[in-house]
């Protein structure tokens, strides 16, 4: 192998990352009830040598307004851990990473479930730690309101510490002390063998200050959303700078921003493909999605062709909100424009062009020290995953930026991560 190579995740989500994906003639509209579709996607990503497939998660229907929800495909789908367990025995090399919330789980159960997934897959599992801010999720777990941000993270820190200790066999109430903390108590060690890769991979996505701190302390991989090179670089440098405080080295964390590619043989075809998707977004769906990113409920009251109103700071996803506001001011976008812009890639970085143009962009961020790899978010499935695998991956391989073969069998090995003691 030559120099440093980029890591690639295939972010699988419903019919696609574009909000109107399900209406596209080349999207598989029944994706959310078709396991064979997902097996096919996983095998496609594996044949293209992706490091991992990634599934996000929310414990609830995302959109409170049922009429808005009914115009998108995101209200139903597979629960990701059962989905990945099914995919684990239908693939042999690719990593399998799922999101699960520290807000609505217990560390013992989560550690045990992911370790089981790790055994089923022979050491290819990873957990993406998130904390939940959504009142829609909270309503399914008997809580009346949101906990303030700091409490969520305090719980998450304790949660992550217990899970890590369980995976490493360092928590054992029989031969040593169990855990009895503020949010959780655990008495026994796990009743499963140690992970084939030492411990499942820890992934994180929170980008607020507390989120970054938790990532610096515990994460092996960090997913992030960054529109511009400068944002990506600033995040990358900031996170890597936090590592020494926790006795860690820069290489111990792989930072993988999301990228929503729209690739075609020619640039005009790629633009056409993108516009075709944008046309399928109903206005009320776009505005509702934007509202949820801004954690406000009455965006629809403002003129859709006018600017974004001044907004109060929210308890929810602080970093994502800042990103949206910054973009609207920078590019002087109306609510409709901003809604469509964000609906396509949900605030992630979108690149439209030929395979060479997309590879150029990825290479610039990778070589410029703004990313260790990318979490690829195809617009619709299966078509756009096939396109990326068939057009962009070979271009990256030609440039020596991405592997042509897997060299190991575990996710840790793919990512170049140390095996934990």
């Amino acid at each position: 192998m030559s120099g440093r190579q980029m890591k690639l995740g295939a972010f699988l989500w419903a019919t696609g990352h574009h909000i109107a994906a399900w209406r596209h003639p080349q999207a598989h509209v029944t994706a959310g009830v078709d396991i064979d579709h997902y097996i096919q996607l996983a095998r496609t990503a594996e044949a293209a040598k992706f490091d991992m497939i990634f599934c996000e998660d929310a414990a609830g229907v995302r959109e409170a307004n049922v009429n808005i929800a009914s115009q998108t495909s995101r209200s139903i789908g597979f629960e990701p851990i059962s989905l990945l367990a099914a995919l684990a025995v239908q693939t042999s090399r690719i990593g399998l990473v799922s999101t699960a919330s520290t807000s609505y789980n217990e560390p013992y159960g989560l550690a045990r479930t992911f370790l089981s997934l790790d055994h089923l897959s022979g050491g290819r599992a990873g957990w993406n730690l998130v904390t939940s801010a959504s009142p829609i999720e909270a309503a399914n777990f008997g809580s009346t309101g949101l906990r303030p941000h700091a409490d969520r993270y305090e719980r998450a820190r304790e949660f992550a510490a217990v899970v890590t200790a369980l995976w490493r066999g360092k928590l054992d109430g029989v031969s040593g002390p169990g855990h009895d903390g503020r949010s959780f108590s655990v008495r026994d060690p796990l009743d499963l063998q140690r992970s084939p890769q030492g411990a499942p991979v820890m992934v994180q996505a929170g980008a607020s200050d507390e989120g970054r701190d938790l990532a610096a302390r515990t994460a092996d991989v960090v997913f992030t959303a960054a529109q511009t090179f400068e944002e990506a670089k600033a995040f990358y440098d900031d996170l890597k700078r936090r590592l020494p405080a926790y006795g860690r080295e820069p290489d111990d964390i792989k930072i993988m921003p999301g990228v929503a590619p729209v690739a075609a043989e020619t640039e005009s075809e790629a633009r056409e493909k993108y516009e075709e998707l944008q046309e399928l977004i109903p206005d009320d769906v776009g505005v509702a999605l934007l509202s949820s990113y801004l954690s406000i409920s009455d965006l629809w009251r403002y003129p859709i062709d006018g600017p974004l109103p001044e907004l109060p700071a929210s308890e929810g996803m602080q970093s994502r909100q800042a990103l949206v506001i910054e973009q609207s001011r920078r590019d002087n976008l109306s609510i409709r424009q901003l809604a469509r812009h964000f609906a396509g890639a949900r605030g992630h970085w979108r690149v439209v062009g030929t395979p060479a143009q997309i590879a150029d962009e990825l290479e610039a961020r990778f070589e410029g020290g703004a990313a260790d790899g990318f979490n690829v978010m195809p617009s619709y499935f299966p078509g756009e995953l096939y396109t990326f695998a068939a057009l962009v991956v070979p271009e990256l391989q030609r440039r020596g930026l991405f592997r042509k073969e897997y060299e190991g069998r575990t996710l840790r090995h793919h990512l170049g991560l140390k095996r934990p003691a």
Binding site: W22, R23, I81, R187
Partner: protein, 347 residues
């Protein structure tokens, strides 16, 4: 007597399940076996080839100083998902504790498993109080017997309610019209109870078999009402009182407005080494219990070893089949169909 002529007279077949129990293999086997999905997959595929109705996957509750989960070295729901992709007919039921999970998460996991398996999934909940796993789930103090029972009942009600949150025809997939689902066919649960409040709905589609099958075990006195009201399958331990209990359960089910056939009572049996040595005796015993109406079939407890399953499938099962007691093959793909359960019917 509600059952006798109704069920058996129609030639209802004996239901047969096998339970994989961790820690039941001889210790030398246990020590040598690492986590091996392939062996478990072969075991379940063999059970499917033999036409058994379902496999029950235990989920070990670790007990301090107790045996580790080395024979079934996976968490039960993840194992079920994996097994679903390498089988196509046999029912797959996973044990999952009401203490180790929250109702929304559990309902969602099993709903998803049911879609993955094309309608072959079931949830096995136990009513045995004071589960040892409480100590690992931030419940050092455990539960009083009564709290546990009320909580479990509420938990099960929420799970079954969430499973019915989407009508079977709710998804429209109307790409041109821009209507993915019919909002009228999505229902909030809006449950507010003593232990939980859950708004719903699940973000998983309606089960291909209406709802996953609910299997209950560990029922004692006051639990019988719960079982009669909500269970699809009830596992009973004691052969001597099973008949009376089964009658009782079905009578209660009728009182709750259900069809007596809406509950299948399976008796746990652990034939062990006797299977190979005296298969005729085992077959006689099963036939006798079945014909005397003390159960609808059997849950055969065995270690997950192919040789043990072989003994049952090759020696005992052919005798039951020759006597016309079991179906020769699956008629449909769904677990409810194997068990003669008809979804909402009888409710």
């Amino acid at each position: 007597m509600m059952r006798g002529s109704n069920d058996r007279g129609n030639g209802a077949a004996m239901k047969l399940a096998v339970s994989l129990r961790p820690g039941e293999a001889p210790s030398d086997v246990r020590a040598s076996a690492g986590p091996d999905f392939t062996l478990l997959a072969r075991f379940v595929q063999k059970a499917e080839a033999a036409g058994l109705d379902m496999v029950l996957l235990a989920d070990s509750a670790p007990v301090a100083g107790g045996p580790s989960n080395s024979q079934v070295p996976f968490e039960s729901t993840t194992l079920l998902a994996a097994l679903a992709t390498v089988t196509s007919k046999i029912g797959l039921v996973a044990a999952a504790s009401t203490v180790a999970h929250l109702p929304y998460n559990l309902a969602r996991r099993f709903a998803s498993l049911d879609v993955i398996s094309h309608g072959r999934a079931g949830w096995h909940a136990t009513m045995v109080p004071d589960p040892p796993e409480a100590a690992n789930f931030s419940r050092q103090e455990g539960f009083s017997r009564d709290d546990f029972r009320r909580r479990a009942e509420e938990f099960i009600g929420i799970v079954q309610g969430l499973w019915r949150g989407w009508d079977a025809d709710a998804l429209l997939f109307d790409q041109h019209g821009g209507r993915f689902f019919d909002p009228e066919k999505m229902h909030l649960l809006d449950h507010k109870g003593e232990f939980f409040s859950v708004r719903g709905p699940l973000n998983v589609a309606r089960s291909p078999q209406d709802t996953p099958v609910l299997v209950l075990s560990g029922l004692s006195g006051p639990d019988m009402d719960i079982g009669a009201r909500v269970a699809d399958v009830i596992l009973l331990d004691e052969p001597l009182v099973a008949g009376a209990k089964a009658d009782d359960l079905k009578r209660h089910a009728v009182a709750f407005g259900r069809n007596p056939g809406a509950i299948k009572v399976l008796m746990n049996v652990a034939p062990g080494a006797e299977m190979a040595a005296r298969p005729d005796v085992i077959a006689d015993r099963l036939e006798e219990s079945f014909r005397s109406n003390c159960c609808d079939g059997f849950n055969i407890l065995m270690p997950p070893l192919e040789s043990v399953l072989d003994d049952f499938v090759d020696l005992v099962l052919p005798k039951l089949r020759r006597r016309g007691l079991v179906h020769p093959d699956y008629r449909n793909a769904a677990l409810r169909s194997h068990l003669g359960l008809a979804g909402e019917e009888g409710r």
